[in-house]
Symmetry: C2
Subunit: 323 residues, 2 copies
């Protein structure tokens, strides 16, 4: 598990955008390898250049197709694009799901595109720790855009907001009318909405509903971002450039209003807290393995100690007593 | 939010099984009220008497009906039974979902049954902190059995195992054949399986598949628990006593083999760790509110500090530095 890593070389090659080095660095993130601390320290000064776009939506809504067409549109605009596929809902399947697609993309041989899935190998902290680190690697590798695509549903839609500068929510006629979207909490998280499969019956109603729900939920604050609803159809080949315009326009708005820095500060705060808590969980895990947590727990089972008093003892044991 | 609580009176009345006091105590758990520390200390010596049974299964499988019939069967055996309904998947809906059912049960006026849903009002730690505490209250209130019923699906099925002495998994023909159950990770968590709606077509196949999958996954260790598969039909009124026998038999097995104490020690360890981490998260939340976490995060955004170095600073700020 612990392999030797030549950090200076890896950092240099990652910064130079060499796919093998990038892949190696993301694998170290997957493994939460001890060398990450040094790697992240070396990459820190070279981050912040990438526009992080989160893409989410219910299964069947056409996420992969949309991601692919956005990648193509951004490539036509000469942006270097990395795609990070994340499945927070199934820690055990890891990155296997996307294996075929990754091979396909890599086979296309465009050096301006990098596609990678992120596993969570059961390490402490999970994706809340590894996803921001993987984004950092891709950011430092010089990609102009990092697309984070969630494979899961539900909580993952909320989590992606914590990672992205711009969140793109996909819907399809019949699946994602306005009221359904509102119920799913999807209206709150989207910066850009794309109604996919717009060639299908009901697309007009979905777009109208969605625009209505968005307007109702929106204040008319000056400088506010008016969240666009884009119609797209892979069949008819429409909506791709409009989608690319919408996300690019959102980035400009973010930068102009100072929202970008606020969002990123919030995101960095979450990342740092996540790392700190992961370290504290690791210390608790050490106590568990060493038998002192089970000994404490046995006293709770016996009724000799209540959970709060036991938690105080545990905190003192990991060097986090209140003093 | 912070109401005055007369802890000695509340503890005495809770221990005496008075419904109003129990309800008040669980509400304090819902709110993570500061008085909980003192309440839990007073109740600690009076816990451990209740058999905690977790009931889980996919939506539509008949969870409410099964819970009700198990409650009735246990009442016929003169057990006092509390039901705690938990929905980990939707923190925002809280306990509202079960309101009608609770009123119905309370209206029945049997003092030997207590039904309560558990909200998570967005407090730190969520159900991993509040669910064990609510179980503690009901345990100390003298209930012989505490049934924890999950309303959600997915992760909640795994989480319930952390709370229960005995986990009962419900399936129905067509929804829950053996292979599906294996995929869902449900085989690993069940101590007792109930195939509900056994009057329906396909029930025989579901039971056979399930038994086969269980056997395949099972070692033949001496003293091992042979996980029963019970057929039940609310329509035909069958399977209820068999289900009650199965869960009671499992408790006897747990106690006889020492597994009960091991499971409870593991559970108490999780509870204590959860409390400790919730306190650490609260300290981080204080730093966030005070502006020092955002200041740290801004340095990360600027690339002046990497996330690991920032996490070290954060840990030092909450009194949890490594040295």
């Amino acid at each position: 598990m612990i392999r030797h890593v030549d950090v200076p070389v890896l950092v240099e090659q990652t910064r130079a955008g060499m796919p093998r080095a990038i892949g190696r660095a993301v694998s170290l993130v997957d493994d939460q390898h001890p060398a990450l601390r040094e790697i992240m320290a070396a990459l820190a000064a070279h981050t912040g250049g990438a526009h992080v776009i989160g893409i989410t939506g219910a299964p069947g809504v056409g996420k992969s197709t949309t991601t692919n067409s956005i990648v193509a549109a951004l490539r036509r605009r000469e942006k270097r694009v990395a795609v990070l596929a994340v499945d927070p809902s199934s820690p055990f399947s890891g990155g296997a799901l996307l294996g075929d697609r990754i091979r396909m993309e890599e086979a296309a041989g465009d050096p301006g595109v990098y596609v990678r899935s992120l596993a969570t190998r059961g390490h402490l902290g999970g994706l809340s720790v590894s996803a921001p680190q993987a984004i950092r690697v891709l950011d430092a590798a010089g990609f102009d855009v990092v697309i984070v695509e969630t494979v899961g549903v539900g909580q993952s839609e909320v989590d992606i907001v914590r990672l992205a500068d711009t969140t793109l929510v996909l819907l399809a006629p019949g699946m994602g009318d306005g009221i359904q979207a509102a119920k799913a909490g999807i209206l709150e998280i989207g910066d850009v909405f794309v109604v996919n499969k717009a060639d299908r019956a009901g697309a007009d109603a979905t777009v109208r509903d969605l625009r209505h729900m968005i307007q109702m939920g929106e204040g008319t604050a000056p400088g506010g971002w008016r969240r666009p609803v884009v119609r797209a159809s892979a069949l008819e080949g429409t909506g791709v450039e409009e989608t690319a315009d919408a996300v690019t326009g959102h980035l400009e708005w973010l930068a102009r209003t100072g929202t970008l820095r606020r969002r990123r500060t919030k995101r960095a705060g979450d990342e740092v807290s996540g790392l700190a808590l992961a370290q504290l969980r690791a210390r608790i895990g050490d106590l568990d393995a060493a038998g002192s947590l089970p000994a404490l727990a046995a006293r709770v089972v016996d009724g000799a100690l209540d959970p709060y008093a036991a938690a105080d003892e545990l905190l003192a044991s990991i060097g986090a007593g209140t003093g």
